[in-house]
Symmetry: C2
Subunit: 236 residues, 2 copies
């Protein structure tokens, strides 16, 4: 299936960019010092260059180089030859639109499936499931499809947020939204809290990080919590 | 432009369905006792019949009858002949998908433009703008387009929520999301808090409801607040 770390968020409260993941990233990228960065999700609409600089600074601290996919003359070749790939968070609709515009969705899938180490945070994790149909993002652009990499056979809901029992707001809770998803879709969904990640190693998928539980939603079942280190292989 | 009431929400905290709007609805629908209901947004994935029953109960209290569009043999004719239309909230992606599937987007636009009184709540208000690109909903189905009725020339963000300064969550605030929208789109956006609505009467558009302010986002401008009764004509 691949060698992936799919994180709910790039940054946890009080921390710096990727800081809480640094040990896990040293392990993920232990066989390479060169990372290709996909900045297409453009958080707050920042430029590819500006976003790449942020990611680069974090990887330099780990003794690695990082280069934005947008700076390659042939991004397709860059993906094919990559020794490590990182897709940062931002807006899933913007990310998916650009991956399709650049014809990179399938090559990215193939690179990950053949074992290229892959890090995703937030939107970059969201696309590792079969679709962005459980994205939290605002649909600010219209992508040609919601279908994504399907590296893991379930959908991911990053930045999972528990309902606030004191809220007077009438907008839907995250749980309500995911339950609505299951009125129209069969796939399982993992609600991944900030600080958690999904680790894919060959055919094994594990929940990791911070001793947090994650919330699993399966169609026609009550949602339930799973502990860190739970093996997720088989969930779909 | 039409005769519309576009509400942020159907229900405010502590109230019952449409209760806080009842005086305004008596005015909107003063020339008709028969309302056609569009239940396609299916909140929590409920059936068209179940959703129509909820809306019907609220309208019966106002001395009006209400019938779901799905119960007509010819929904297109029902829209064309309607004396009043109400589109309820739920999931914008589901609503828009079904309006396109039934070929009702354009007929609905024409009916509203010719003056058929129209009530929208939440997703039903969202579609009165040019697109659902400022929806808060989860993209659980893939509609053939994000383009909607364009009755008002600006986009609506229903259930507008101010940032919580005490939050430790790293997901984007609503304001951040709307600012991202403006990196890719030019249209103005009105952040409509629960309890507010936009009233369209012929060529005039006004913010109404509860003495609440609304937050206006225009591309390349600082967001700003407007008071209830502010005339919005010209915003786009």
């Amino acid at each position: 299936m691949g060698n992936c770390l799919l994180a709910s968020t790039s940054t946890i409260y009080g921390g710096t960019y990727l800081e809480y993941l640094s040990d896990a990233l040293k392990d993920l990228f232990k066989d390479t010092d060169e990372i290709i960065f996909i900045p297409y999700a453009r958080p707050s609409g920042i430029s590819h260059d500006a976003y790449t600089s942020i990611a680069e600074a974090a990887f330099v601290k780990m003794g690695k180089t990082l280069r934005g996919i947008h700076s390659f003359e042939n991004p397709l070749e860059a993906i094919k030859n990559a020794k490590g790939i990182f897709t940062g968070g931002g807006n899933s609709f913007v990310l998916v639109s650009e991956l399709y515009a650049q014809n990179l969705m399938q090559p990215l899938q193939e690179a990950i499936r053949k074992g290229t180490p892959y890090l995703g945070t937030s939107a970059g994790s969201n696309i590792a499931g079969p679709s962005i149909r459980t994205s939290n993002d605002m649909p600010i652009v219209y992508p040609p499809s919601f279908a994504t990499l399907a590296i893991v056979p379930f959908n991911i809901n990053p930045h999972y947020l528990d309902p606030d029992p004191t809220s007077k707001h009438k907008g839907e809770t995250r749980e309500t939204r995911i339950k609505e998803f299951h009125k129209f879709n069969d796939l399982a969904v993992i609600g991944l809290r900030e600080g958690s990640w999904v680790r894919v190693q060959d055919e094994q998928i594990t929940l990791e990080g911070s001793n947090l539980t994650a919330r699993i939603f399966e169609k026609d079942k009550m949602p339930y919590e799973i502990a860190a280190t739970t093996i997720l292989t088989g969930l779909k």
